[in-house]
């Protein structure tokens, strides 16, 4: 009998269907992948199970009983636990305090920390999850925080663990270690649901897989009975176009984007460690690496949003090391941030005002000290047509546009006026396939026009697809830069992402 079965779950946000009659079954003691693209409704489904969202309709059976959790507390009481993609830990509390948060342990409300710590250590050692119980969360690495989250669930004796994109922030080696833990959990009779969009990973660890697409479930199958190609077809719904890159046209007159020994030290933490890189005009350099290894720091230093502690940054022979963000942008750098809602757009402003974010300092849009509203309007209208941005009108706040259309507006704004360089940080994050392809095509178009492009992505596939050269970043350092050729050794890149250079060298000898 199924441990959990969800039937015909429906949920809408603002009139948009996030889950449409989704069905899902889970057997006891299995590791089950919930596979789908961003926005396919995986997390929504699990949040409904966990009592974070309320469902519009549908039935949930847990151990054969109909349940309907209105808060995580009730889910936890039924031994269901969830680790969110963004960890739910209080940074100013200790590991131990976080693990017991919300529980009524012996002696409540006066906790016996020593006894609690002993129990926590016992649980963590059983599954090989080592942790310092007295450390503050804010001092832990991402991998350690994930361990705390899992211990938290095990401490509550979770029979079902729901893990949302658990490997997104892990190196390939950390991922392997993490899978070991999962196997121990399965051997112990616990069940695991992994929410993910990474097909290769689930092949080795999961027993079954359910694919969601556009809020509907497409297929549920034993992992051993299905191939990666089939899964990717189910997930995407069609074949991916492969992109043809033309050879770089050398431009002797330009130096391109140049970084010399750039380091960043903030609050005694080294964000970047002597980064050197030259991107030629018409070249795309992809930066591969696990999230949080200095990627954000790198792009923000290039843009001038943060100031490098040492080193030189130049564009076409001009030293811009000490220039402001505005000066650099006027020099011809376009910026596509990884967080468009926070960094790229003012969500409560309309389309014209968001275009102004760049143009309000340009003389042509200013007449007698005032903004030339008519010109701005015409400019925006042109852009909307050119990039086929779907919007009711130009006065619509960006908040009401889809993610793809928001990103198109950013592209339009940042690529206006033929920039000499583009810094694209996760430019396709959270976009559907169509929008992703559009963005990638735009980048390639710029490349053929002689733009220097720095592409940073956590998605190795995207890097491999677009880049001329690939740099691997780990803890703020470039571990190596390789030309993107057919005989590229992927396992080397994986090891470098995990910070292991020596092994790479030995192997290549």
């Amino acid at each position: 009998m199924a441990l959990l079965s969800m039937k015909n779950i429906c949920k809408s946000f603002f009139g948009k269907r996030a889950n449409n009659r989704v069905c899902f079954d889970l057997m006891p003691g299995e590791i089950h992948a919930l596979l789908g693209e961003n926005g396919a409704g995986k997390t929504t489904l699990m949040n409904i199970l966990y009592g974070i969202y309320s469902r519009d309709s549908g039935v949930i059976l847990w151990k054969g009983q109909e349940v309907s959790f209105t808060s995580p507390r009730e889910a936890i009481a039924c031994h269901i636990g969830m680790v969110h993609q963004h960890f739910m830990l209080v940074p100013t509390l200790t590991v131990s305090q976080n693990i017991t948060l919300g529980l009524r342990e012996k002696g409540y409300p006066f906790p016996d920390r020593k006894a609690l710590n002993a129990t926590i250590t016992e649980v963590s050692e059983k599954y090989g999850l080592e942790i310092d119980v007295n450390a503050y969360i804010s001092s832990l690495s991402v991998g350690e925080q994930q361990r705390v989250e899992i211990i938290k669930l095990l401490y509550r004796d979770a029979e079902l663990l729901i893990l949302d994109e658990p490997t997104a922030m892990l190196t390939p080696q950390e991922t392997e270690y993490f899978f070991e833990v999962l196997r121990k959990l399965r051997a112990d009779g616990r069940s695991v649901i992994i929410i993910t969009h990474r097909i290769p990973e689930i092949m080795s660890i999961t027993d079954r897989v359910t694919v969601l697409r556009d809020g509907c479930n497409v297929v549920t199958e034993k992992t051993s009975d299905i191939t990666e190609q089939e899964l990717s077809q189910y997930m995407i719904g069609r074949q991916l176009n492969s992109i043809q890159r033309e050879p770089i046209v050398p431009d002797a007159g330009r130096e391109g984007l140049l970084l010399e020994d750039v380091s960043l030290k903030e609050k005694n933490i080294k964000g970047l460690d002597s980064i050197s890189l030259q991107i030629a005009p018409g070249e795309i350099v992809g930066v591969a690496g696990v999230d949080g290894n200095g990627q954000k720091e790198l792009v923000e230093v290039i843009l001038g949003i943060r100031k490098q502690s040492s080193g030189k940054i130049g564009l076409d022979g001009l030293d811009m090391s000490s220039m402001s963000v505005l000066e650099r942008k006027k020099l011809g750098i376009g910026y596509i941030s990884d967080d468009r809602q926070q960094d790229g757009l003012v969500m409560d402003m309309n389309l014209t005002d968001n275009m102004l974010l760049k143009t309000h300092t340009e003389q042509q849009f200013i007449k007698g000290g005032l903004i030339n509203a008519r010109l701005v309007w015409e400019d925006t209208k042109k852009v909307v047509e050119e990039y086929a941005i779907k919007t009711p009108d130009l006065n619509t706040p960006l908040r009401n546009l889809s993610g793809g259309n928001q990103q198109k507006l950013i592209l339009a704004r940042e690529m206006a006026g033929d920039p000499k360089a583009i810094v694209a940080h996760q430019p396709t994050r959270g976009l559907d396939i169509g929008a992703t392809e559009f963005v990638q095509q735009q980048l390639l178009q710029r490349r053929s026009k002689g733009c220097c492009i720095l592409l940073i992505s956590a998605d190795l596939e995207e890097i491999l697809l677009l880049s001329d050269r690939i740099a691997v970043i780990y803890k703020g350092r470039f571990m190596g830069i390789f030309p993107n050729t057919k005989d590229l050794n992927l396992s080397h890149i994986g090891l470098m992402m995990a910070g292991r250079t020596s092994e790479v060298r030995e192997e290549s000898l």
Binding site: S324, S337, Q342, V346, M347, D348, L357, K358, T361, I371
Partner: protein
């Protein structure tokens, strides 16, 4: 549908407010009809009473405009009261020091002085917020008390009128007083100052690149920074303008109305300003309308006290209730409003 729901919800607030007012009037034991009649005649009954509404509206427009400008860049200015008093100090000091100047020079100078004093009083919290992230809600609040204390000290010491036993300054020289429009009323040229300020602020905030930057910073400081807009510069600038406008309100109260510095020249205009800005949706035109409305409420409640015996504190209750209802609007009238 969306629009009508909104209108209906505000109508609901109006009805609730009216109901509460009637309840309060009944509690006093007054006749409701008479109370409302005296309220309206307190406002529209005579030329003088209408002019009194305008007199009250002057400081409310200026301080409300100040709060609104600050709010546009995300600077929550609870300190308009203190900034108003700093402006009042500025005009008094300058008037006595420069008492030889003709009015044509004196008036612009004291207005500028009030702007600078009020601005400085607000730019310090603005700087602390922009540079160090210290919450301006608390600092501006504390600066109010410091400013009011400074006025108390000044009117008892160096600015004290030696010929009076009361803590107040001597009368300002004539050159430093704003002309009165009509001798039978107290309505002074401060109204012009206020209206000119409204137009200037409207142009600044909605038509210029600087105003655009301020609005962008207020809505999303992070994106502004990434686009090369200085968050620091814009918060400091808008806090300066915000306090400066409140300072001008102080100048108008002293030069136009009291003609001397004394304690309590503002019955909480600086706090009411926050309500004015809220009701006016931080838009210059909205500020004018809501300032007129609140001024009318206060003047009308005076009439109600005179003729119907309802205590004037009813206006303070109504102001509080209206704001509370507006804050609760989306929950109270959820069925009427579209899903958001």
């Amino acid at each position: 549908m969306k629009q009508s729901g909104n209108v209906l919800s505000f109508l609901g607030i109006a009805i609730l407010t009216l109901g509460i007012s009637i309840l309060l009037i009944l509690m006093v034991g007054s006749n409701v009809n008479q109370a409302f009649f005296s309220f309206l005649s307190g406002i529209f009954g005579s030329f003088y009473s209408v002019s009194e509404v305008l007199v009250k509206a002057i400081p409310l427009i200026l301080t409300g405009l100040g709060v609104a400008v600050g709010a546009r860049s995300g600077f929550i200015n609870i300190g308009a009261e203190g900034q108003l008093y700093m402006g009042a100090i500025a005009v008094t000091c300058m008037a006595f020091w420069l008492n030889d100047l003709p009015a044509i020079l004196m008036i612009p100078l004291v207005i500028l002085g009030g702007f600078v004093f009020g601005g400085v009083w607000s730019v310090i919290p603005g700087f602390l917020k922009a540079r160090f992230g210290i919450s301006e809600v608390i600092t501006t609040l504390m600066f109010n008390y410091i400013a009011i204390s400074i006025v108390g000290i000044l009117v008892r010491t160096i600015l004290k009128d030696p010929s009076s036993s009361l803590p107040m300054s001597a009368f300002l020289p004539d050159s430093a007083t704003l002309p009165v429009f009509m001798s039978t009323t107290r309505l002074h040229a401060g109204l012009l100052v206020a209206l000119i300020s409204v137009v200037l602020v409207w142009i600044l905030v909605w038509k210029t690149p600087i105003g655009y930057e301020m609005r962008a910073v207020g809505l999303n400081p992070r994106a502004s920074k990434c686009s090369g807009i200085s968050v620091y510069k814009n918060i400091v600038l808008s806090s300066l303008i915000s306090g400066g406008l409140a300072g001008i309100a102080g100048v108008c109260e002293v030069s136009g109305l009291h003609h001397k510095l004394l304690e309590g020249i503002s019955p909480g205009y600086g706090y009411i300003a926050i309500i004015v800005a809220l009701l006016g949706k931080n838009h210059p035109l909205g500020v004018v309308i809501s300032a007129l409305g609140i001024a009318a409420l206060q003047v009308g409640s005076l009439g109600m006290q005179r003729m119907a015996g309802v205590p004037t504190s009813i206006s303070s209750i109504i102001m509080g209730v209206v704001v509370l209802l507006i804050l609760a609007r989306k929950s109270l009238f959820r069925r009427l409003l579209p899903d958001e």
